[in-house]
């Protein structure tokens, strides 16, 4: 019910989003599993404390005991006693581009993942279901790569200064004009790092006496930016418009705490696609609320830009809305353009203001020219300005792959979270041991997957997160689906109680 759409008239197409509830028995067994692992964690800490067991973790020497502790002992309890045991599933070294297929460096451990050794062998052609490569631009051949190589020879790789000083190159300005045109806004500004685009610009937009209404599952960069700004932050339930409206009403009716003065600014901060939930923001309703209560809207399209919408222009394009209704359009070039960095788009006066007040513009070195070129080339391909239909084909391919992949997983009986059109596909695992087992079993079948557990997700919502790409062929998806079904039977993961 919580996910039902309350204002269908605002949507031009059906908005189908689902978060099937955790089966109660599975929830109880999950807690029990975490409880058992925690008890053994305490046992291991006890053995380490009395030097019965060798301690591999970094900690102070005896001479340093009287100083302020360098390592927060308890805060690393989970890392030491849970994550360590299954961490061979994470940070796997690859030795190719993170494309539809990739090559993994094989490694072994002789002390239960405390240290690894490379065997010198390479696991070839692993199907990559984990990387953010929605449009398949993570490739070292083709137009993008050639253009980037040419730019490298022309500009070099590094820019030794900031945008406000010597680091403002013509390629940056060309890129910003293209991004503004791509987004359909007046002006845009780009930054060399996606995370910094949020964390360094929100403090330039709001400050004391302002209110930030933030979705509870917003990315850490948004959280950090909001905190750095010094504004008052209030959190609403994930993608829940009733909760957002209630906060808006309270903010306007009661004003600031104690003084009850009206808020200088109210900024609603949401993301286009939530990369851990696979959900898409209810943008038509958010825009309707911001217009009604005269708030500003900051939309982080890190995952949705390039991956959603008939023209690949993100969630605004997906819902067929006017980009001018979104006050601050933010996004990154990491996930769909095979590049790095981020952008902010909006009114010209806003961008001009950010050029003089943003931390990144004043202190960070500018984006590397080959990366800028990669963005320009891939964006032109998406817009069809390269004279081919490659961009449109990839967008269509991504949309088909997404719907096919989600539908098949649901038919197999897995619990899949999120929106039917989201290329991020979370498959629920729940128990802590199944996180490690799933990643290992899938790698045995030559599929690279990303698994996520507590505390990055709620304790009873551990999951595997697949990222579909336009570069995946139907054969690759079928191979992956077959492997997932096999592992799903082996680990008993088909929990869904849907008809």
């Amino acid at each position: 019910r919580q996910n039902a759409t309350h204002n269908p008239s605002l949507y031009k197409k059906p908005f189908v989003e689902s978060f099937e509830e955790t089966p109660l028995l599975v929830a109880v067994l999950t807690y029990m599993g975490y409880g058992i692992l925690t008890v053994f964690g305490y046992l291991r800490d006890f053995l380490r404390h009395w030097n019965i067991e060798k301690c591999h973790v970094a900690r102070e020497r005896d001479e340093q005991k009287d100083f302020v502790p360098l390592y927060q002992d308890f805060e690393n309890f989970y890392t030491r006693n849970l994550y360590m045991r299954i961490r061979d599933n994470w940070n796997r070294p690859i030795c190719s581009v993170p494309g539809a297929k990739m090559d993994l460096v094989e490694r072994v451990t002789h002390n239960y993942n405390w240290t690894f050794e490379h065997t010198g062998k390479v696991v070839k052609d692993v199907i990559n279901m984990g990387s953010y490569n929605y449009l398949g631009f993570a490739e070292n051949t083709g137009t993008c790569a050639d253009a980037a190589i040419e730019t490298t020879q022309k500009y070099g790789v590094g820019v030794g200064s900031t945008r406000s000083e010597m680091g403002n190159l013509d390629i940056h300005e060309e890129m910003e004009e293209l991004v503004a045109r791509f987004l359909g806004v007046e002006s845009s500004m780009t930054f060399g790092m996606g995370f910094a685009t949020n964390s360094m610009n929100i403090p330039a937009l709001t400050g004391k006496g302002c209110l930030i209404l933030s979705d509870e599952l917003n990315h850490a960069s948004l959280v950090l930016g909001a905190r750095l700004s010094g504004s008052t932050i209030r959190v609403f339930k994930h993608n829940n418009m009733q909760s957002l409206e209630k906060l808006l009403r309270d903010a306007i009716v009661h004003g600031q705490p104690r003084t009850h003065r009206p808020w200088k600014k109210i900024l609603i901060v949401v993301e286009g696609i939530y990369s851990m939930e696979g959900s898409i923001v209810r943008l038509p309703e958010v825009i309707a609320l911001k217009k009604r209560y005269k708030a500003y809207l900051y939309l982080d399209e890190a995952h949705s830009i390039g991956a959603l919408g008939p023209g690949g222009r993100g969630v605004v394009d997906y819902f067929g809305l006017d980009p001018k209704d979104v006050d601050i359009m933010m996004g990154t070039f990491t996930k769909s353009f095979g590049a790095a960095g981020g952008y902010i788009g909006g009114k010209k006066e806003l961008i001009d203001y950010l050029r003089s007040y943003s931390h990144s513009a004043l202190y960070a070195t500018s984006m590397s020219p080959p990366v800028a070129q990669q963005i320009i080339t891939s964006m032109k391909i998406i817009m069809g300005e390269d004279g081919t239909t490659l961009g449109a084909d990839r967008l269509k391919q991504l949309s088909e792959n997404t719907n096919y992949f989600r539908r098949r997983l649901r038919e197999m009986g897995f619990i899949i979270y999120g929106n039917d059109d989201s290329p991020v596909v979370p498959l629920m695992l729940y128990m802590p041991a199944k996180i490690g087992a799933f990643g290992r079993e899938m790698l045995k079948r030559n599929i690279g997957t990303v698994v996520v557990g507590f505390p990055a997700t709620p304790i009873i919502e551990s999951r595997a997160r697949f990222c579909v790409s336009a570069a995946h062929t139907r054969e690759m998806l079928d191979t992956a689906l077959e492997a997932i079904s096999e592992v799903g039977d082996l680990l008993q993961l088909k929990y869904s109680r849907r008809e």
Partner: protein, 130 residues
């Protein structure tokens, strides 16, 4: 402490504890109930009122590091449903233990002291008090 199924898990764990204790041949029923009550309150005191901080890193710049689990629950808001539940459960256990020990004075004294060790830290007036 609000997520789905955690209260049921807590009750199941308490019942399992009691059954395991009940299965120890040389323990009498009153003793088992007192042991259940004392072990339950000891574990609750340890996990909710002694251990401070979080077993993983949080993005709140270390704010939670000095707070116990009980103080971190529901962001410090008092009288939430979880808090009520975790306050009532030891009381119910104490009533059961008193009944099954036939209100024997010694058991009653031990059970009551044990109950107070988990009730007093839960008082809103003692939030954050050291």
């Amino acid at each position: 402490m609000n997520s789905r199924g955690i209260w049921l898990t807590y009750l199941l764990l308490t019942v399992v504890l009691h059954i395991v204790l009940l299965s120890i041949p040389f323990l009498s029923v009153p003793l088992v109930w007192t042991l259940t009550n004392v072990i339950h309150n000891l574990a609750m005191y340890l996990f909710l009122h002694t251990v401070k901080g979080t077993p993983f890193e949080t993005p709140d710049q270390g704010k939670a590091r000095l707070l116990t689990h009980w103080e971190q629950m529901d962001y410090g808001v008092q009288f939430t449903s979880s808090r009520k539940f975790l306050t009532i459960s030891p009381i119910v256990l104490h009533i059961l233990a008193s009944f099954y020990t036939k209100y024997d004075a010694t058991h009653f004294f031990i059970n009551t002291c044990s109950l107070l060790t988990v009730l007093i830290p839960k008082l809103p007036q003692l939030h954050g008090v050291r």
